[in-house]
Symmetry: C2
Amino acid sequence: MARPPTDARDRLLVAAARLFYAQGIAATGIDEVLREAGVAKMTLYHHFGSKEGLAVAFLEWRHNAWMTRFHAHLEQAAPGLVGLADALEPWFRDGDFRGCAFINTVCEGRSAPVLVEAARRHKEDLRMVVQGRCPPRAASGLADEALIIIEGAIIRRQMTGDPEVIAVVRRLLGRLVVPS
Amino acid sequence: MARPPTDARDRLLVAAARLFYAQGIAATGIDEVLREAGVAKMTLYHHFGSKEGLAVAFLEWRHNAWMTRFHAHLEQAAPGLVGLADALEPWFRDGDFRGCAFINTVCEGRSAPVLVEAARRHKEDLRMVVQGRCPPRAASGLADEALIIIEGAIIRRQMTGDPEVIAVVRRLLGRLVVPS
DNA sequence: TCATTCCTAGACTGGTCGGTCTGTAAACCT
DNA sequence: AGGTTTACAGACCGACCAGTCTAGGAATGA
């Protein structure tokens, strides 16, 4: 039989990335991932040890992919905190958008502690990015304000499906840097 | 045998309210609810028809309980949008706080459509409350801005556990009503 | 050519899931 | 007292879960 083009491990990760994001980690069975990846069960356990291991790998991959894309869009975005809205916008336009995988993992409840920690790390890294776009001598709380707005935008977009959320976020972020 | 003090249906709803909120609906098995309620399985199916029926009843109960409490705190809160932070604060202090049950239900993934609709209705009702605290001739987008801040606050509080989130929210909401 | 490595196919285990069924005991209402 | 309602306990069902095991096929490299 001809070998599939990509490595079995890669195919597993790609299938897990899609299914875990679309349906949640707990709600997705291993057999479904295996079927979509076209991979034998033993191969999964050889590479990742357990479903939890696969989930950890998924969150790591998702963190890197999301951050890379976010940084790429940030480079062409408006300067300052408003640029965050510009970088969020293409993500919000994704056809398969279902919010933030890390928020979803925490909201799922009963997620393994190692997954919750990965989610927290992701949000800390995001905080660093936001911090980096604050004016040099801005109050330390400025980044926290922007983060609240970003998380709120994600949730609103996910729950209402309203594409106009991004315009509201741009307004909010644009007003942050010029306080009274 | 002496009848338990409360009705079986009430005990079921109380147990479901605690467990579904603390662990998520999908992650909570029926047997666990039955054990905590001290109720036979057939009684659950007699009153609610299915786990989904119990979940719907839970979300309805939660909506009413949350709204009642929120309105009660709003009456003693500062006027205007800042008051929303005052009303959020006691909720954020709850020892068993695990975010918004409706957000969590949507984030869970694979939730029954009827549950997602209940979540959307809850957020629409919340929007009405926020709208009611906006200045009479405020732009229609003002409520959307406040909602983004509220949802973001809930998520930040849930994910970081930081109790200081409420102070940032109060700052953000306080600045909303006096735009440039 | 032969051994090693990676992978596949699929049966299998023990446990949990939502949901059904039987049978019985207690309380309530005439 | 007798019938009805309500809830009890617990066995049971098929489906699905994560994870294990066996056996063998296909490519690689000495």
